[in-house]
Amino acid sequence: MKKVIDARKMDCPKPVLLTKKALEAGGFSQLEILVDNKAARDNVISFLEKKESPASRIIDNDGDFTIYLDNVKPLPGNPQTDIEQLHPLSGKTVFISSESIGDGSEELGKKLMKAFTFSLNELQVKPQCLLFMNAGVKLCIEKADTLANLKKLAEYGTEILVCGTCLDYFGISNKLAVGKISNMYDIATHLLTDKGVIKI
């Protein structure tokens, strides 16, 4: 028996969740998953690989993709599996408007900030987006000791937006080494529309 999952027009991680749910439910020997973007395609493929049921073939039809899975192996249900495990970006945005965390000691605050950026890479769940304003932009420039950690997050898919006005104010626009120069409108849009915003 064949099952078809139409996950077109669905945002991540929904295609992966539907695939997982279908495999757990079982009752079919072949599976076809339809998606309409590369991110969803890659996420589904890597999920199948993780579950040791790699895709049999993938057909690209003008930007729509069909992922075929022959000889479906049933997947044991795992109640602990959650969205975070399947999809490494948490949907949370972190707004950073200072070089240091908290008040009291600037020296300690800077060390805490560095340790914070390090720990973001160590955690399985990554922030969706990091927004940098005011002196926070100094964390994103050449030779900043947070740079390597932020670059790793960017590679992981975290969006990094850096306030252009702030870079200009500090005279460091030409030193930006990670992230995209952004403006107040984009940053305000993120603050108002993202699933969760944390200011540190």
């Binding site: 060390k111 340790a115 160590e122």
Partner: protein, 86 residues
């Protein structure tokens, strides 16, 4: 090449003192939050690359820096494990 070492300290001041000294020595290292798997007394630890435990112990004693423990950090398929070496 040696596996990275995680060095823990009894308090934050010792960790920061070691950080300053290691910077002077131009060691390859970073200040990190102490990994949960280790859970030592102090929140900061130093992750040091390309060094061995005995050298680190010698450096610390030269500057009267008190360290708690040294762990060898091995990574296998993305999972880190920490083996106590001091």
């Amino acid at each position: 090449m040696n596996s990275p070492l995680v060095i823990t300290f009894p308090n934050t001041h010792q960790a920061l003192k070691a950080e300053d000294f290691f910077k002077l020595l131009k060691l390859e290292f970073e200040l990190i939050p102490t990994p949960r798997e280790i859970s030592a007394e102090c929140g900061f630890a130093l992750l040091v690359y390309n060094q061995d435990s005995s050298t680190i112990i010698r450096f610390c004693s030269e500057k009267n820096i008190t360290l708690s423990n040294i762990f060898i950090c091995n990574e296998n398929k993305g999972v880190k494990n920490y083996e106590k070496s001091y």
